[in-house]
């Protein structure tokens, strides 16, 4: 369940303290997403959006490390085989 899509925050509107909103870009499309539960949000950050609400920020460092580890897996396995 739970289709959630990563998008880039391009502007934040915190005029309503109970309903902080942001304009978030998905591919080339921009949608208004509620970011009420995301602390320390800045423009340029990536969030996961589900039903018009942000679930979490994307941890870009974790993503980078994990992807690199996967590429390294190939190196290790290749060396192991040869």
């Amino acid at each position: 369940m739970c289709l959630a899509v990563p998008g880039k925050v391009i502007s934040i509107d915190d005029s309503d303290p109970d309903l902080k909103m942001a304009k978030v870009q998905f591919g080339g499309v921009v949608q208004d997403i509620c970011v009420q539960w995301i602390d320390d949000l800045n423009t340029g950050d990536y969030i996961m959006a589900h039903v018009g609400v942000a679930l979490n920020k994307v941890d870009e460092e974790d993503a980078r490390i994990t992807l690199n580890a996967l590429y390294e897996m190939r190196e290790i396995d290749f060396k192991f085989e040869s």
Binding site: M1, L3, V5, K23, G27, G28, V29, V30, Q31, V51
Partner: protein, 350 residues
């Protein structure tokens, strides 16, 4: 005819649907069932039963293409166009898909009382512009006005007549294993541009409809390449529906490559957000060409010289395996089936 000769029992099982639903107009399996069980069963014939974009009919001394269409799009004005040019381009393209040079169009309006005259004027200007561009003439028409609440702003019905290019034999049952499949550009633009304006689902984007007449581009292709087997414009139901129809009509297998299918980044974003599969989203101004492999290079070269064909690409091939089935080689290298959609695609959150 005796009354007892008339079959009064509705062939579409009433226990399934006692009223028409939106899905019956979606271009998927339910549409196909309504058309074949109810319409074809009553007034089908060798021309109608081919279920092609138009009929190729004999006429003393000539071969004509004849088509009809109705346009009920909402909203009437959408990014990239309006119902007027959609109607002209759509009719022209159906004739082109028969291998014809479009010549004459009829145009009938059903307008809801209260529709703004200014809006009607804008639509009329678009129709005029589109017809000039496609070199077709509107030669007959009709106008009706219905009471407020009995229509949805404006509906347009058209029919079109064209002359088949000499030497061409286009039919949905003609493709052969070994044929390649060419597509002239990005998919899902039209469907997503309409969606972007629908209430409750709106988002900001630069996506515009790809409505366009293909007669000029395809006219040049037809003059130079006589070996084309099948043409189809993938409108409602998207690429997937058209490919499934042809695979079934021709009794062949079709394989397409996900990484070859062009898509705009905006459209991709919108599809991801709504949970839509772009293969099932409506297109306009697009054409699928099934032709022998040896003709592919020449066809694409000609198409790329036109604006409507600048992104032309081979997206797949026809095989003799798994006849009637459309397969997709995915981005990650696996293979899966692209089935006919049953109703219409709805936005999802799961």
């Amino acid at each position: 005819m005796e009354e007892s000769d008339i079959n009064l029992v509705c062939p579409v099982p009433i226990s399934e649907y006692d009223c028409v639903v939106i899905a019956h107009g979606g271009g998927g399996r339910m549409s196909e069932q309504l058309i074949s069980k109810m319409f074809f069963s009553q007034f089908g014939n060798e021309y109608l039963n081919k279920a092609h974009d138009g009929a190729i009919i004999p006429f003393p001394g000539k071969k004509l293409a004849f088509t009809t269409d109705s346009y009920v799009v909402s909203p009437v004005f959408f990014p990239g166009g309006n119902i007027g040019e959609l109607a002209v381009n759509g009719t022209v393209n159906d004739l082109v898909c028969c291998g014809a040079r479009p010549l004459y169009i009829s145009l009938a309006f059903i307008i809801e009382e209260g529709f703004l005259m200014n809006d009607l004027w804008k639509i009329v200007l678009s129709i005029s512009g589109a017809a000039k561009k496609a070199h077709v003439r509107i030669v007959t028409g009709d106008t009706k006005v219905v009471e407020k609440g009995k229509g949805d702003k404006i509906y347009i019905n058209t029919s079109g007549v064209g002359e088949i290019f000499p030497g061409l034999m286009i039919s949905p049952d003609r493709c052969r294993p070994g044929d390649i499949i060419i597509l002239n550009g990005t998919i899902a633009d039209h469907g997503i541009s309409i969606l972007s304006k629908r209430q409750n689902l709106s988002f900001e984007s630069g996506i515009i409809s790809d409505t366009a007449s293909l007669s000029e581009m395809m006219g040049e292709v037809f003059e130079n390449c006589k070996g084309i087997h099948v043409l189809r414009d993938p409108t409602r139901g998207g690429l997937a529906s058209s490919l499934n129809e042809i695979a079934t009509s021709s009794g062949v297998g079709i394989t397409i490559y996900e990484d070859a299918i062009p898509m705009n980044e905006d459209v991709k974003g919108a599809c991801e957000l709504m949970g839509f599969d772009p293969l099932y989203v409506a297109n306009e101004g697009k054409i699928l060409i099934f032709a022998p492999e040896k003709e592919a290079g020449r066809i694409i070269d000609i198409m790329k010289r036109h604006r409507e064909g600048k992104d032309s690409v081979i997206i797949g091939k026809v095989t003799d395996e798994d006849n009637g089935i459309v397969k997709l080689k995915t981005l990650v290298g696996s293979t899966r089936i692209v089935d006919m959609i049953s109703g219409e695609q709805l936005p999802r959150i799961c």
